[in-house]
C-alpha cells in the first residue's frame, strides 16, 4: 500500500463521513469501491477517524464509527453530517457535465438529470454555464447507439455518406471508441466492408442499427489513442510563426521546430482531400515538405477548384 498524502486522505474522509451518515450500515467493500480505496485503507482511515472528535476527546465526544468485520456503522450528531461544499471547479464539473449530458441523455435518465440540475441551481445559485456538444437529436441517437455498441462490443450497421467518395455506402462496423475533435464526433471502428480500421464522422451516418453480434478480437489499431484513422500518414509541413496555434489544433500535430519565423511540424493526414482543402484555406502560407509526392497538393487542389469557376457557363 502506497502512503497517500494527508490532504488527499482528509478530502476522502470528509466525503466518506457524511455519506456514511446518510447511508447507515454499509460494507467496507462498498466504501472501497465508491471512493477508490483498498479495503485496508478504508479500515485504517475509519479506525483513525473513530479516534477523532471534539475536546476533551472523551469517548462520548469521539465520532461514533464502528468497523466490525466487514461492516461499518456510523452515527454523527452535529459534525460532518452534511456534505462538504463544492469548490468552484467541482461546481463547474457538476453543471458542465450535467448540461452536456442533457444533449445526449435518454428517457427517464433525462428527466432525473433535468430535475437534479434544477435543484443544484436552486441550491448553488443560478449560473448559466452551458455546454454545446454539437449534436442534434438524430446525431445524439446515433451516438448513444454506437456508445452502447462500444460498451457491449457488438456491431453496427450504418449507411454512411463518405465525404470523399460520391456515394452512400452500407457497412457493418465494429466500433471501439468515440472521440470529438474540433466540434465533430468520430467513431473509430473496424470496418468489415473496407477490411480495416476506419474513422467515421457521426454527422455523416444517415442511419444506424445495432447488429447483435459480438465483435471478434482484432489486433489493436496502430495508434494508441484511436483518434485517427489507421491509414493516417504523417506529413511534415512548414508554416509562418503566426499560424502556430492553428496548426497545434490539427490532428496529431507535433511541433518539430517551434522557433523562428518559419516553423515546422508534423500532422496526421487521413485523406489528401482534407489536406488540399486545408492548404488552400491558408492561402499558400503552409507548405508540405514530406512526403514529397504531396508537395504540390495545395497547387493541384487550387487548380481543380479554379477549373469550376473558369469553365464556360453551360
Amino acid at each position: 500500500m502506497t502512503a497517500m498524502p494527508a490532504g488527499q486522505r482528509l478530502r476522502r474522509l470528509l466525503a466518506i463521513l457524511p455519506w456514511l451518515a446518510e447511508a447507515g450500515d454499509v460494507s467496507v467493500a462498498e466504501i472501497a469501491d465508491r471512493f477508490g480505496m483498498t479495503p485496508a485503507q478504508v479500515v485504517s482511515d475509519l479506525e483513525l477517524a473513530a479516534c477523532c472528535g471534539l475536546p476533551p476527546y472523551s469517548p462520548d465526544e469521539l465520532f461514533e464509527i464502528i468497523v466490525d468485520d466487514d461492516l461499518v456503522s456510523a452515527r454523527f450528531s452535529r459534525l460532518f453530517h452534511r456534505r462538504q461544499a463544492f469548490s468552484n471547479s467541482e461546481a463547474i464539473a457538476v453543471l458542465a457535465s450535467g448540461n452536456a449530458m442533457l444533449a445526449l441523455g435518454e428517457g427517464d435518465q433525462l428527466t432525473d438529470l433535468a430535475s437534479a440540475l434544477a435543484k443544484v441551481s436552486a441550491a448553488l445559485g443560478d449560473v448559466d454555464f452551458g455546454v454545446d456538444l454539437g449534436v442534434d437529436a438524430d446525431q445524439a441517437r446515433a451516438l448513444n447507439l454506437i456508445r452502447d455498441a462500444v460498451d457491449r462490443r457488438v456491431c453496427v450497421h450504418i449507411d454512411y455518406q463518405s465525404a470523399w467518395r460520391d456515394d452512400v455506402s452500407r457497412r457493418v462496423i465494429e466500433p471501439t471508441g468515440l472521440t470529438m475533435t474540433d466540434g465533430k464526433w468520430y467513431v473509430s471502428a473496424w470496418c468489415r466492408s473496407s477490411v480495416g480500421w476506419r474513422t467515421f464522422r457521426i454527422d455523416r451516418i444517415m442511419n444506424a442499427e445495432l447488429v447483435e453480434e459480438q465483435q471478434p478480437r482484432r489486433e489493436a489499431r496502430s495508434d494508441t489513442d484511436g483518434k485517427h484513422d489507421g491509414s493516417a500518414i504523417t506529413a511534415v509541413i512548414s508554416f509562418p510563426a503566426h499560424l502556430s496555434e492553428a496548426i497545434s489544433h490539427m490532428n496529431g500535430a507535433g511541433i518539430l521546430d517551434g522557433a523562428g519565423s518559419t516553423r515546422t511540424a508534423t500532422i496526421e493526414v487521413t485523406n489528401t482531400e482534407w489536406l488540399g482543402a486545408m492548404l488552400c484555406r491558408f492561402g499558400g502560407e503552409i507548405n508540405v515538405i514530406e512526403p514529397t509526392e504531396w508537395v504540390d497538393m495545395g497547387l493541384q487542389t487550387a487548380i481543380r477548384m479554379l477549373a469550376r469557376y473558369l469553365r464556360p457557363t453551360p
Partner: protein, 320 residues
Amino acid sequence: MSERLERLTNLVALLLDTKVPLTLENIASELGMYPADSENRRASFERDKKLLRDEGVPITVVPMSNPVGTSGYIINATDFYLPQLNLTDSEEIALRLAIVNLPVSDDGSDGALLKLGGRFSAGQSAIYELPVAPSLPDVYQATKNRSTITFTYTDRLGSSAKRTVDPYGAICRRGFWYLVGHCRDRQALRTFRIDRIAERSLSIGASNSFERPTDFNVANAITDDPKLLGRGEVTLTNVLIGPARAWLVEQELGSESVVDRRSDGSIVVSVPMNHRPAFRAWLFGFGEHAEVLSPPDLRHEIVEWLSKMASPNQHLGTTQ
C-alpha cells in the same frame, strides 16, 4: 502521516464546532497536538491551514482584540457545508452518471463525484472529456456573484488589452470555453475565449455589481457558426453544391437554406457569412464540389485567392 490526518480532522471539527473564533493558543491547548515551542507551533499550524484551504476547507481569519494583534480562526458552517440539494436517489445517479460520462478534464470532476457519493463500481467510462481553462473557476465565481471582472485578453489577431466585463455566463463549444458578457469598454455584448485570458490577470470586483438581463441565455447569446464570428455586416452568399455533397450540405444547413434544386441533383444554398477565413475553410472543405455564385465580388475574391495558390507558371483551368 496518520498523526497529521488525526490532527487535521480534529482541527476541522474544532473550528467547525466553535461559536467564537479561536486563537492559535486556544487551538493548541484544546487539540494538544501542536509543538510546545511557539515558533514551531506557528509554522506547523500555518502548514495545516494552507493544506485545509487547498482541500477546500474555508477557514475564516478574524482579527482579535484580546490579546491585540492576534488572529482568531473559525470555519463557518454555511461556508463549509453544501446547501441541502435534496436529490432523490435516481437524480443523484443521473448526475453522477453525467459526471462519469462527460467529465471535465481537471480534478473538479473527481472532487464532485466524491461529494456526490463516489464512483460507480464498473462499466462506466468517459465518452468525452470537457476542456478546462485556468481562469474558468474565477469566471464561475464572478458569474455566480454578479461581480464585474477585469482581465488582460489576447484577441484572435494577437493583440492584448485590458477588458472590463460583466460576466453573464459561459459556454463550452468546439473544445473551448467562452465567456459571454457585457463588455464595459465596448458597451456591448461580447464573447471571449477563456483560455485567451492571461493567467493570473483576472481580478474579481464586488458582488452584485450588475444585473444579468432576465432573458439572457448563453446558448442563444453567441453563434455556433464560425462563418458568423466576424464583427461586420452579414452577407448572404449563394453557393452551388454538386450532387455528391448535396445531402451533407442540406443536412448541415437545413432544407430552408436551399434556394434552388437542379435536375442533376445539385443544390444552391443561401449561406450567411461575415467571417471570410471561416467561410473559405467551409467552402474549400467541399473541394471542387462547391462554387460561390454570388455576390459577384465574393466570387471574384475566391477566384483571386485560388489563383494566388496556383503557381504563375501553371496554365490554369484546362477547360478555359
